[in-house]
C-alpha cells in the first residue's frame, strides 16, 4: 500500500473537487431519497384511507390548519439565500487561502505529460476512450448525453411525482437517472482520476504509479475470437452482433417499462415516437456498461469492424 502515492493523487489541488464530489453526491442522494421515502410512506397512508386523503395537505412536513400556505419571500426566503451566500463565500475564502491553484511547468509541446488527463469533469469521456473509438466516446456519446438529458421531460410520461420527492411513484425514472449519472458518469470520472495512472493503465488505489510499469493485454475483436477474419463477413457479423445486442437490451428495457400495472399505465400514455426515443437512449446508455464488461473482463476491443468505423 503506497500511501504517499495515494496522498499525492488525492491531494492534487485539481482533484480536491472530485474528493468533495465523492462525499457530496452520496450525501445529497440520501438527503433527497429520505424525503422521497417519507412522502411515499405518507402517500401509502393516504391511498389507504381516502377520508384522510381529502383534507390532508399532502406533504410530510408538519402542518396545522391555519398556517399560511405561502410565506413572504422577504424575509423568509431571502434570509436563507443570504445565509447560503455567506457560507459559500466563507468556504471559498478558506479554500482559496489554504490551497493554491495549480501552476505547473510552462507548456512544452515536446514533453508529453504522462498521464495526460483532461479536466476532471471530462475524465468520464476520456475514460470512455478505452471502450470506444474517439468518434463515439468523444463526439457521439457527449452529444447523445446532452440530447438524452434534454428529452427526459418528453420521454417521461409519468404525470405523478411532479414537484415533490417520491420514489415509489417514479421508481423507474429515478433508477435510470441514478444509473446514468452516478454509476456511469461519476464512476467513470472516479476511475479516470484515481485509477488510471501513467500510460492510462489500471492502478488500484494505493498502487504505485510506476512509469515503467508494463502490462500484457491482447485486445482482440469479437469476430476474431470467433474466427471470422474476412471482410465483408466481419462487418456483417458485427452488424448482426450489434443488432442482437440492441434487440436484447430493447427487450430488457421493455420489460422494465411494463414492470407492473402502474408502469403499464404510463406505457399506455406513450406514443410510438416516445417509445422509440426512450428505447434508443436506454439502449445506447446500456451499451456503455456492456462494452466496459466486454473490454475489461473479456478483453474484447471491437464488436463491429468495418473499413470506415469500428464499434
Amino acid at each position: 500500500m503506497d500511501w504517499a502515492q495515494l496522498w499525492e493523487i488525492v491531494s492534487l489541488p485539481d482533484n480536491v473537487p472530485i474528493v468533495a464530489l465523492m462525499l457530496l453526491v452520496p450525501f445529497f442522494m440520501w438527503y433527497g431519497l429520505r424525503q422521497s421515502f417519507a412522502t411515499d410512506r405518507m402517500i401509502a397512508r393516504l391511498e389507504a384511507d381516502s377520508k384522510l386523503a381529502k383534507d390532508h395537505h399532502r406533504k410530510f412536513e408538519p402542518y396545522r390548519k391555519g398556517w399560511d400556505q405561502k410565506v413572504h419571500v422577504w424575509p423568509y426566503l431571502l434570509r436563507i439565500e443570504l445565509l447560503a451566500a455567506v457560507v459559500v463565500t466563507l468556504i471559498l475564502m478558506v479554500w482559496s487561502i489554504t490551497l493554491d491553484a495549480p501552476l505547473e511547468e510552462p507548456a512544452n509541446p515536446n514533453l508529453t505529460m504522462n498521464p495526460a488527463k483532461a479536466p476532471w469533469y471530462f475524465l468520464g469521456l476520456q475514460e470512455m476512450l478505452v471502450y470506444f473509438d474517439p468518434w463515439i466516446a468523444g463526439v457521439v456519446m457527449p452529444t447523445l448525453i446532452i440530447l438524452g438529458l434534454m428529452v427526459i421531460p418528453y420521454a417521461d410520461k409519468n404525470p405523478l411525482g411532479n414537484g415533490y420527492y417520491t420514489y415509489k411513484q417514479r421508481k423507474f425514472a429515478i433508477l435510470a437517472f441514478c444509473f446514468g449519472f452516478i454509476v456511469l458518469w461519476l464512476a467513470m470520472i472516479f476511475i479516470g482520476t484515481f485509477i488510471r495512472g501513467p500510460g492510462w493503465i489500471w492502478f488500484w488505489p494505493g498502487e504505485t504509479w510506476d512509469h515503467h510499469r508494463l502490462v500484457f493485454e491482447v485486445n482482440r475483436d469479437l469476430p476474431e475470437i470467433l474466427g471470422i477474419t474476412q471482410q465483408p463477413w466481419v462487418g456483417i457479423f458485427g452488424a448482426l452482433a450489434t443488432g442482437l445486442y440492441a434487440w436484447a437490451a430493447g427487450w430488457v428495457c421493455h420489460r422494465f417499462l411494463v414492470w407492473n400495472d402502474f408502469n403499464k399505465e404510463i406505457y399506455a400514455r406513450m406514443t410510438l415516437t416516445h417509445y422509440l426515443i426512450y428505447q434508443f437512449f436506454m439502449i445506447t446508455m446500456l451499451s456503455l456498461p456492456v462494452k466496459m464488461v466486454l473490454r475489461l473482463v473479456f478483453r474484447i476491443k471491437y464488436v463491429w469492424v468495418t473499413p470506415w468505423f469500428n464499434v
Binding site: 473537487p17 464530489l21 445529497f28 433527497g32 424525503q35 402517500i43 406533504k59 398556517w67 399560511d68 400556505q69 413572504h72 419571500v73 422577504w74 423568509y76 426566503l77 431571502l78 439565500e81 447560503a84 451566500a85 459559500v88 482559496s96 487561502i97 490551497l99 493554491d100 491553484a101 501552476l103 505547473e104 511547468e105 510552462p106 507548456a107 512544452n108 514533453l111 508529453t112 495526460a116 479536466p119 469533469y121 471530462f122 474517439p134 468518434w135 468523444g138 463526439v139 446532452i146 438529458l149 434534454m150 427526459i152 417521461d156 409519468n158 404525470p159 405523478l160 411532479n162 414537484g163 415533490y164 420527492y165 425514472a173 429515478i174 449519472f181 402502474f262 399505465e265 399506455a268 400514455r269
Partner: protein
C-alpha cells in the same frame, strides 16, 4: 422649540431697528421688509425637515414603509430591481433548504463571484504565449491578493460545476422537469454544458503543462468527429485534413498554440459568458413564469391518476 428658533431669528432685526432709530426711520422699514420673508421661508424648511419621510427626496427613493406589514413585505421584493426575480410569496415549504438544496441559487452566486474575480484577473492577463505564464507568476508574487483572486476563481469554477450537477440531481429527484417546466429543463441542460465549457476554456489560459495537455487531450477527440474530423468516420472521405477539420476550427491551428490560447481566452471571457447569461435570464424568467419553483407541491395519488382513454 420652533418659536425659540424664531426668536433667534428676530434678534438681529431688533438690533438693526435700534440702530436705525438713530439714523433715518425709512431705513428700518426697508430692512424689515426685506429680511422678514426670508425668515418665513426658513421656518418652512425647518418644519419640513422635522418629518423628512414626507419629503420629495425620500419619497422618490423609498416606495413603501419599512414596518412589518404584509404589504410592505411584498413591496420590498417587488419594488427591488435585484429581488424582483422572486415572487412576493412562495410556497411555505419551498423556503426549506431540505427541499431546494439551494443549489440553483448557489450556482448563480458562484457565477457572479466568477464574473467579478474574472474581471480582476483580466486586468493582469495577456493571452499570448510566454507572457501568459509570466502573468500568472506575476499574479502570485506581485499583485495584492492576486493569488487569492486566482485561487478563488479556479475553485469557484470547480465548485460551480459540482453545484450545477447537484442542482440537476435535485430537480430530477423532485420531478420538477415535468409539465410545465420541460423547456426550462432543456435550458438548464444547456446551462450545464455551457458551465463545463466555460471551465474547460479557462483551463488552457495559464499556459502551463497541466492546461496544455488537458486541452490537447480534450481537443484531440474532436479529430475523430464523424464527417468533420480528419480521423473520424468518413472524415477523410470528405477531404478532412488536420488543417481544415473541426479541431482546426477550435484551436485556430493544427496544434495547441498561440491561436488556441487566444481563442480559448475569447471564448472564456466574452463569448460563453454572454451566451450563458442570456440563457440564465431565460432560465430565471421561466422559473417565475412556470409558477415559481416547482414545489413542494401536494403529492398526487395513483388513485387520482385519470385513465387515458384508448
Amino acid at each position: 422649540m420652533a418659536d425659540e428658533k424664531s426668536r433667534e431669528e428676530k434678534t438681529p432685526v431688533e438690533e438693526a431697528s435700534e440702530q436705525a432709530e438713530k439714523k433715518s426711520p425709512n431705513v428700518i422699514v426697508r430692512i424689515k421688509e426685506t429680511v422678514l420673508p426670508f425668515i418665513e421661508k426658513g421656518k418652512e424648511d425647518v418644519r419640513a425637515a422635522q418629518d423628512y419621510k414626507k419629503s420629495q427626496v425620500w419619497k422618490s427613493v423609498f416606495r413603501h414603509q419599512l414596518d412589518e406589514t404584509p404589504r410592505n413585505r411584498a413591496l420590498a421584493v417587488l419594488t427591488n430591481v435585484f429581488l424582483h426575480l422572486h415572487p412576493a410569496k412562495v410556497n411555505r415549504d419551498a423556503v426549506r433548504f431540505r427541499f431546494t438544496w439551494g443549489m440553483g441559487g448557489i450556482s448563480f452566486y458562484l457565477f457572479f463571484v466568477l464574473t467579478i474575480t474574472g474581471v480582476f484577473l483580466m486586468f493582469y492577463y495577456h493571452p499570448s504565449k510566454g507572457q501568459a505564464f509570466q502573468d500568472i507568476q506575476f499574479l502570485e508574487n506581485d499583485v495584492p491578493f492576486g493569488g487569492l483572486l486566482r485561487n478563488m476563481h479556479r475553485w469557484a469554477a470547480h465548485l460551480m460545476i459540482i453545484t450545477v450537477w447537484l442542482h440537476m440531481l435535485r430537480v430530477f429527484l423532485t420531478g420538477s422537469y415535468k409539465t410545465p417546466r420541460e423547456f426550462n429543463w432543456m435550458v438548464g441542460v444547456i446551462l450545464l454544458v455551457l458551465t463545463m465549457l466555460l471551465s474547460f476554456t479557462g483551463y488552457l489560459l495559464p499556459d502551463d503543462q497541466l492546461g496544455f495537455w488537458a486541452v490537447t487531450v480534450g481537443t484531440n477527440m474532436a479529430r475523430a468527429t464523424p464527417l468533420l474530423g480528419h480521423e473520424g468516420p468518413f472524415g477523410p472521405e470528405l477531404g478532412m485534413t488536420p488543417f481544415n477539420d473541426v479541431r482546426f476550427a477550435l484551436l485556430g491551428g493544427s496544434i495547441v498554440d498561440a491561436n488556441a490560447l487566444l481563442r480559448s481566452y475569447i471564448w472564456h471571457c466574452i463569448a460563453i459568458p454572454l451566451i450563458l447569461s442570456v440563457f440564465l435570464a431565460v432560465h430565471f424568467w421561466r422559473v417565475r413564469k412556470d409558477g415559481s419553483i416547482s414545489g413542494p407541491s401536494p403529492a398526487v395519488l395513483e388513485s387520482e391518476l385519470k385513465k387515458v382513454r384508448k
